[in-house]
């Protein structure tokens, strides 16, 4: 109980710090989702493409979603430019948008599909799977 009370007090204090922070974007709630990787499975089977896509049945594509708010924490993988753009956005919110939450690393997938009745292709598609997200 003591530990919970301490944690609550600390949380309130940090929340207060946040509200008092002159650089915080007033249009954004403190608890809004931050930029991070989200789960997205693309199913070729559900799309009924298995007639010509032999493998895989689908793949974990993922996507990046969330907001790039000040301060840009380290886990957001922000570029220097994104940090500067965030500051400029705070000065002129109507003129300069916030940085975008986008993939920072992508990896390929291989797809095996029929070209016709008897010939097949195994093709590597680059940049198809999101490995990490960040603010750009």
């Amino acid at each position: 109980q003591k530990r919970d009370a301490r944690r609550k007090k600390k949380s309130e204090s940090s929340s207060l710090d946040y509200r008092n922070n002159p650089y915080t974007d007033p249009g954004v709630q403190y608890n809004s989702r931050t930029c991070k990787i989200q789960t997205l499975y693309v199913s070729f089977r559900d799309l009924k493409w298995q007639d010509w896509i032999i493998a895989p049945d689908g793949y974990d594509a993922y996507y990046c979603s969330g907001e790039c708010n000040f301060p840009l924490n380290a886990h957001m993988n922000a570029t220097n430019h994104a940090i500067v753009q965030t500051l400029v956005h705070l000065v002129s919110p109507g003129k300069v948008p916030k940085p975008c939450c986008a993939p920072t690393k992508l990896s390929p997938i291989s797809v095996l599909y029929f070209l016709d009745e008897s010939n097949v292709i195994l093709k590597k598609y680059k940049n198809m799977v999101v490995k990490s997200c960040g603010c750009h």
Partner: protein, 268 residues
């Protein structure tokens, strides 16, 4: 895809806080259109040819070969780093170190089933002619290598199942007045008791056919006893499975390609 982005713009809107929210649910027709755009982006805009009534099966040798590569020779996490040597398996198709190197370098691996394509004026002796439709090779792809794969079966009923044989592939050049000009491509030796896949390097032939489609008159397969004690023999007499043999043992060609990096989405 620009078209897809334009189409999507009517379905999602910016809520003013740099968030994209759903504006309305798309109709079935629009859903099909978006699906088609994704397929177009993948280079698969349409269902494969001649498969409307009966979906293609993976029991033929060529699809089985690429499925074998997909299962055994690619990294599980699909990362840039290739799978470790010790984890690799030769599989049913006896993949070699050279095959694994070609697989690692390739962006596209394509198979071509052998066909009985009639070319006027070509007379066959005891050898066998194999023809491959290479018209679907994407333009701008760099050929790393190509190999012809033949299956030698032990299921031979006559005396020729014993001894050593030299199997030679030639590219058919001209067919004027019924005479044939052949250019040596590659050869492989096979001995009695050896059952399995034989490979011949046909990189030069594939490169020629892709760049000169009219010059594609196929390969001529010639089989001789290694000691040349008798004349040319028929490939099936030494157990070479032809394009009328078991579907999973039929001859095929495989091409390894490096992508040019140009996206080849087709205009619909």
């Amino acid at each position: 895809s620009t078209a897809a982005a334009e189409r999507m713009s009517g379905l999602y809107v910016d809520n003013g806080f740099d968030q994209t929210i759903v504006h309305r649910v798309i109709s079935q027709r629009e859903k099909r259109e978006v699906e088609h755009e994704i397929l177009n982006l993948l280079g698969l805009p349409d269902r494969p040819k001649n498969t409307a009534a009966r979906p293609p099966q993976v029991k033929r040798s060529a699809p089985k070969f690429l499925l074998d590569i997909y299962k055994n020779a690619l990294g599980e996490d699909e990362d840039e780093k290739p799978i470790g040597e010790q984890q690799r398996r030769a599989g049913e198709f006896d993949l070699t170190g050279q095959d694994f190197r070609a697989i690692d370098q390739s962006d596209v691996i394509m198979t071509f089933a052998a066909r009985n394509h009639h070319v006027p004026g070509v007379r066959h002796e005891r050898g066998k002619r194999l023809w491959f439709d290479v018209s679907e090779v994407p333009p701008g792809e760099h050929i790393i290598s190509a190999e012809l794969r033949l299956y030698r079966s032990m299921d031979v009923k006559n005396w020729r199942k014993n001894g050593s044989y030299m199997i030679t592939a030639y590219r058919v050049l001209k067919t004027e007045n019924g005479t044939r000009e052949l250019q040596y491509v590659d050869a492989v030796n096979t001995t009695a008791g050896k059952e399995g896949w034989l490979t011949l390097n046909v990189s030069e032939a594939l490169d020629h056919w892709v760049n000169n489609p009219d010059g594609n008159k196929g390969l001529y397969l010639s089989v001789h006893p290694a000691d040349r004690s008798v004349h040319e023999v028929r490939p099936e007499d030494v157990g070479i499975v032809g394009f009328r043999g078991n579907p999973d043992k039929q001859p095929f060609m495989v091409g390894y390609f490096k992508s040019s990096g140009i996206r080849e989405s087709k205009v619909r």
